[in-house]
């Protein structure tokens, strides 16, 4: 049993693995570039938290940003490519249940996100050693965060019918939300108004909680972040399951 699910998951993993130059190596390189540039330009900044330099502060946020973006990219690009080229029918013709389809796309997205995160972390170890204070927390936020954006990518892929709709989703929603989620700064540094606005951004909690796993410091209480991230991931997952069961935009 479950062979259908395992096959779809395997296919989705193989799909990004076969082009790992673009799907794994490229995000690692661009993350490192961010790190080098920002760490250089902002090197004069004082410690963000006691014993945490700006450079160190930057690493987990950048890693998580890459993880979230790649989890999103995986499910969304797979779906939109299959839709536009028409080969989504192969999956739609098969007796796969909505849950199997959901789980396969979500797990493949998480696998890509986590692989990118792991690679970024390993590479940054060459520059300076930094070991997470609470590894389980890092893992938990990593998994929940990539699940959340992986499912968001699935929703975008189900909704979009053309590449430019997908590009709009990515440029006007995903990019701003990740960039304004406190990757490059602690939100305590913002004016009160922008602090409150930031509070509505779910990406903030993923990055903040993840960073808490590294340093034991955060802007938001980690449990609050966990609750918000897990709650959002569950809500999005339920919506995706409902849409898949209805065949919305997939089966006419």
């Amino acid at each position: 049993m479950m062979l259908g699910f395992r096959t779809l998951l395997g296919k989705e993993v193989l799909r990004f693995w076969k082009v790992s130059f673009q799907t794994l190596l490229a995000p690692v390189v661009s993350t490192l570039l961010y790190l080098l540039v920002f760490a250089q330009v902002m090197s004069a900044r004082s410690e963000v938290w006691p014993g945490v330099s700006y450079r160190e502060f930057l690493v987990p946020g950048l890693a998580m940003m890459a993880m979230l973006q790649n989890a999103f990219a995986n499910s969304s690009s797979s779906l939109i490519q299959s839709k536009v080229s028409g080969n989504l029918v192969f999956m739609l013709l098969a007796p796969l249940s909505p849950l199997e389809i959901f789980a396969a796309y979500a797990l493949a997205a998480m696998a890509r996100g986590m692989a990118v995160g792991l690679a970024v972390w390993l590479v940054t170890l060459f520059f300076f050693p930094h070991v997470p204070a609470h590894p389980l927390e890092v893992l938990l936020f990593g998994l929940l965060g990539t699940l959340l954006t992986g499912v968001l990518g699935m929703l975008a892929g189900i909704w979009a019918e053309k590449f430019d709709q997908m590009a709009a989703f990515q440029n006007f929603l995903i990019m701003p939300l990740t960039f304004l989620a406190g990757v490059f700064y602690s939100i305590r540094a913002l004016p009160p108004f922008w602090q409150s606005v930031s509070r509505f951004n779910p990406f903030l909690y993923m990055i903040d909680g993840f960073r808490h796993g590294f340093f034991g410091y955060s802007d938001v209480a980690p449990l609050e972040s966990l609750a918000i991230v897990a709650g959002s991931a569950i809500a999005l997952s339920c919506s995706a399951l409902v849409l898949l069961s209805r065949g919305w935009r997939l089966r006419h």
């Binding site: 049993m1 062979l3 259908g4 395992r6 096959t7 779809l8 395997g10 296919k11 193989l14 799909r15 076969k18 082009v19 299959s82 080229s85 028409g86 080969n87 029918v89 192969f90 999956m91 739609l92 013709l93 098969a94 007796p95 796969l96 249940s97 065949g247 089966r251 006419h252």
Partner: protein, 318 residues
């Protein structure tokens, strides 16, 4: 072929059952109430001009879209409420030439098998590749295949889970003559082993040669449904084409029913082949020398044109 699947249907259960199916796209009514039953073991042709609704009907059977009204079932399993069983029992060759450029031919088939919950069966996949003359392309990327090869992969994909019912939407479009013949030989073999085949094609001679029963669709309705033999008998006649030495005129009795062909030739529709002799005798009596004689068989193309143009009414058993 070890046809576990071919016998999956209960005796007496229709292979394909379509009842009162309607489907619209916006204001366009693509299917206006279709009823059709295909029995197990049939080789069935679904014919109709472009836009008649054939692909729309097949998409509903495949579960790729949902009917606005009516129900569809494969071997008694509803394509909506019992979609898992229904999809396992049917293999669909889509009309569009689609493929996943990330994978090779063999990977494509292994993946498709897995989707159906069947561990990839190397021997069966090899047999499919062999029969569809794809063996030497097994490890080639899908992208590198010609159009005709991609279509054959689609056929292999539809068969990889050994479905008892096979639906082919224009499987021979863009396939060369030789491969068309090997493809049909293979499909015929499957039919001989008990598989039910439903096909659409615009090559009517293929349908005539292969199918025992034919449905013709026009503008979302079935306008004729009968055995190939009955349709031919009712709407198509043998014919006689010939020229006359010196281009002399035909005797009036013949001229009245003759149709002029290019090059001064004449064509006469015949009730049966015995009339050939009568026509020739009439010509002899008028002192005409008949040359370039050709006897034409009844063909489905003529039936199709007659029915689709609305000149003839197809019989639709209720």
């Amino acid at each position: 072929m070890p046809d576990r699947g071919a016998r999956a249907g209960r005796a007496g259960e229709a292979a394909i059952s379509i009842q009162g199916v309607e489907k619209s796209f916006g204001a366009l009514r693509a299917l206006k109430g279709v009823d059709l039953q295909v029995e197990q073991g049939e080789f069935f042709a679904l014919l109709g001009p472009n836009g008649a609704g054939k692909t729309t009907l097949i998409s509903l059977l495949a579960g790729l879209s949902r009917p606005d009204a009516g129900r569809l079932a494969i071997l008694g399993h509803d394509t909506g409420s019992d979609y898992r069983a229904a999809r396992r029992l049917v293999g669909i060759v889509p009309q569009e030439l689609v493929f996943d450029p990330f994978f090779t031919v063999r990977e494509t088939l292994r993946i498709q098998s897995g989707y159906f919950g069947i561990p990839p069966d190397r021997a069966w996949i090899d047999e499919l590749l062999e029969n569809l003359q794809l063996t030497d392309k097994a490890d080639a990327n899908m992208r590198s295949l010609s159009g005709g090869m991609k279509r054959r992969v689609l056929v292999a994909q539809a068969l990889v889970h050994r479905p008892p019912v096979l639906v082919l939407d224009e499987p021979t479009a863009g396939v060369d003559v030789e491969l068309r013949q090997t493809l049909w030989k293979f499909i015929r073999r499957l039919n001989g082993e008990g598989h039910t085949i439903l096909l659409t094609t615009h090559y009517l001679e293929e349908a005539q040669a292969l199918c025992n029963r034919v449905a013709m669709m026009k503008e979302g309705r079935i306008v004729a449904l009968d055995t190939t033999r009955n349709l031919l008998a009712a709407h198509s006649h043998p014919s006689l084409s010939f020229g006359v030495a010196g281009d002399l005129p035909l005797p009036p009795a013949l001229a009245a029913r003759a149709q002029a062909l290019p090059g001064g030739r004449h064509r006469l529709a015949l009730g049966d082949f015995a009339e050939v002799e009568q026509v020739l005798a009439a010509c002899r009596q008028a002192g005409l020398q008949v040359e370039d004689l050709e006897v034409g068989q009844a063909d489905l193309e003529e039936v199709f044109v007659a029915i689709v143009s609305g000149a003839a009414q197809g019989r639709i058993p209720s």
